[in-house]
């Protein structure tokens, strides 16, 4: 996969990263539960989700929302970028079949020990509903730094 590298110098506060849009279906819920050894019935047992826990449908794992939001970041920072800090809060649940969007906006940048650090405001949403707010810091390579 050919990927373009983003550099510290090219990034400015207010820049928006490409939005990742995903509709999680039941197959994906299943595979994510399997990959994370998560047996919680609310992710695959509709009857349990409805009658015992009071949800309308099976729900998207919070950690899957977090992983998708992180993917929006790691897709953008390129092979020489690094995720340094990542913080999210679980604010609301999402159901299978709903379109979710994951957005990130640059809020600041600074040099620390010759490393270019970029701060991001990040969020998972369903339409106007904020599901998962958060913040992240990434390290980006500097132009001319070929290390």
């Amino acid at each position: 996969m050919a990927r373009e590298q983003v550099f510290y110098e090219d990034v400015h506060p207010g820049d928006a990263l490409p939005t990742l849009t995903v509709t999680v279906d039941e197959r994906q819920l299943f595979f994510f539960s399997a990959a994370t050894y998560n047996g919680h019935r609310i992710h695959y047992d509709k009857d349990w989700a409805r009658t015992v826990e009071g949800y309308d449908n099976v729900i998207v794992q919070g950690p899957l929302q977090a992983a998708l939001l992180a993917r929006a970041i790691t897709d953008w920072i390129g092979g020489r970028g690094r995720l340094v800090e990542y913080a999210v809060q679980n604010r609301a649940i999402a159901f299978a079949g709903e379109e979710l969007s994951f957005t990130c906006v640059v809020t600041g940048k600074r040099l620390a020990d010759n490393t270019g650090l970029v701060d991001l405001d990040i969020a998972g949403r369903r339409d106007d509903t904020l599901l998962m707010p958060g913040a992240a810091t990434v390290a980006l390579p500097l132009r001319g730094d070929r290390s």
């Binding site: 996969m1 595979f31 990959a35 050894y37 950690p63 977090a66 897709d75 092979g79 800090e85």
Partner: protein, 166 residues
């Protein structure tokens, strides 16, 4: 603790203690299955040649996968009725606040993890406090979790919280 506190004395006494420890081997196929389930086809996780060209010695573990490398094994008979294992919280339970939900998580990543790295996780109960929210009282539990590799290098450090309501 006053009589009205949602936090029982037994739980309160565990602040500062280790809630859970676990070790596990980072496995390339496991993290690739996780990445595929996320739809995350970043070549750093899959393509050794690409990863080497970026300065790594091999493909690397996606940062958010690290927490799963140390998961243990739970017998079917040991699961809670809802199917979950309950291992991560160190068995903390609040009889006066039984409804639990994940709060948030904040993680600092210090270096990459590679296939067959041995990760040791140590999770400490950092605080248990009662708070007043818009929808009433709740208990906020905060854990601090440290991940080190076989060379005792710090790989990641996480702060996780859980909310328990009456």
């Amino acid at each position: 603790m006053s009589e009205q506190s949602l936090i029982d004395a037994e739980s309160a006494s565990r602040v500062g203690t280790v809630a859970a420890t676990a070790t596990g081997e980072v496995d390339r196929r496991d993290w690739q299955r996780w990445a595929a389930a996320v739809g995350d086809h970043n070549p750093l996780w899959f393509d050794p040649e690409y990863a080497r060209a970026q300065g790594y010695r091999d493909v690397i573990c996606p940062p958010l996968y690290l927490q799963y490398a140390v998961l243990g094994v739970t017998a079917l008979d040991g699961l809670r009725p809802d199917g979950s294992s309950g291992a991560a919280s160190g068995g903390l339970a609040f009889p006066r606040a039984p409804r639990r939900m994940a709060g948030g998580e904040s993680t600092a990543f210090f270096g990459p993890a590679y296939h067959r790295d041995e990760i040791e996780m140590v999770r400490t109960i950092e605080s248990i406090v009662e708070k007043q929210g818009r929808s009433g009282r709740f208990v906020l539990v905060t854990w601090r979790t440290v991940y080190r590799n076989q060379r005792r290098e710090l790989v990641a450090e996480a702060t996780t919280s859980m909310i328990a309501r009456p």
